[in-house]
Symmetry: C2
Subunit: 213 residues, 2 copies
């Protein structure tokens, strides 16, 4: 559906991607987004400053463009799975479906994490995107649990799921150890199934004895 849509669509997508990548490149080179201007990004991508702002409202949004994309895909997976699976494990499996570890370079992910972690404006932007994800997902969760979206339980469940996804990914990126990302995610989701007051049984460094899934 998005393939045959002609030159214009493809060019737009390419420009947007180029701007996002240019932002990433410059941010790394200059050790932080705050040291990069919209003007520089536009120049790096070969368009005018005005055009940059046609595509992104801010350089923060440009840098987190693929996060936003990812979010959309995750939601699609979630919608699909939520019709055949209890919502909690639908989140876990939708997350595993994303296969970040195969799609992205782990060093690039680490760089990105560091950029975000070091910049208040990026932290805010990312948090804002998480909140948007919350808003988009709450209906799915409410429907799936047979509750209202204003109830407490679906909000807690969704919040827990988002926290789990963010934390486990960050943790795995920082130090994969001998685990796959899917294992780490599964482990993290299991913590909430067990009850949060129950600390995880296996110390995080022991290598064997983890039957996957």
């Amino acid at each position: 559906m998005a393939e045959s849509t002609g030159l214009r669509e493809r060019k737009k997508a390419a420009t947007k991607a180029a701007l996002s990548e240019a932002t990433f490149r410059l941010a790394i080179a200059k050790q932080g987004v705050e040291n990069v201007t919209a003007e520089e990004i536009a120049a790096e991508a070969g368009v005018s400053t005005r055009t940059f702002h046609n595509y992104f409202p801010s350089k923060e949004a440009a840098l987190l463009y693929d996060f936003e994309q990812t979010t959309g895909q995750l939601l699609a997976h979630l919608r699909e799975r939520s019709r055949k699976q209890p919502i909690w494990h639908a989140f876990r499996d939708a997350m595993i479906d994303m296969r970040f570890d195969e799609k992205f370079d782990i060093d690039a992910m680490r760089c990105r994490e560091q950029l975000i972690h070091a910049s208040p404006s990026l932290i805010k932007e990312q948090s804002g995107q998480f909140m948007a994800l919350f808003t988009e997902a709450i209906d799915i969760v409410a429907a799936s649990t047979g509750t209202s979206k204003d109830d407490l339980y679906p909000r807690l469940l969704l919040g827990a799921a988002l926290v789990t996804m963010k934390s486990s990914t960050e943790h795995w990126i920082a130090d994969p150890g001998d685990r796959t990302l899917a294992q780490t995610i599964t482990e993290a989701f299991a913590v909430f199934e067990r009850g949060i007051t129950q600390p995880p049984p296996a110390p995080e460094t022991s290598p064997d004895a983890r039957p996957h899934n």
Copy 2:
């Protein structure tokens, strides 16, 4: 200790509070922070625009000033309790210690919530403050659970606690029903103790209805 610190300290605190309140007032009057300028806020509080920016980096920060204050107090309570209590219930009880329902007008809280919910910039600002709280609290949690701050478990626990505090407060503000805030908080924390896949025993609206998760 902060009492006898002379006229200067007191005036600064008063100015800061005045600026924050002015921001709140104007934001309500104009139906959103985006319709208020720093210049207007400064005028309303009787100082120069430059002075406003000496106190707050942005109008969003000004509007969420008391949230920041609250955060600090919560951390103090948490630190105290975490030495005598397991960390999970320390969070719950530290939160209850705050007694928002007694300290703040519920209508004002509702207004504030609506302002935040309707403004992307405020959502980002608040999320940023939550992340700051995360950063400040993670050491306490790690110490209290005997783990490293880079481990997964303390991050999940802290994330769950923050989600619980935010969600239960918002939920209670939106519709207190016949519950106290402390009850709602306790109920919410209990969800995570039980295991997130276990829906709460008492449905929030209909008395029968087995939840079919």
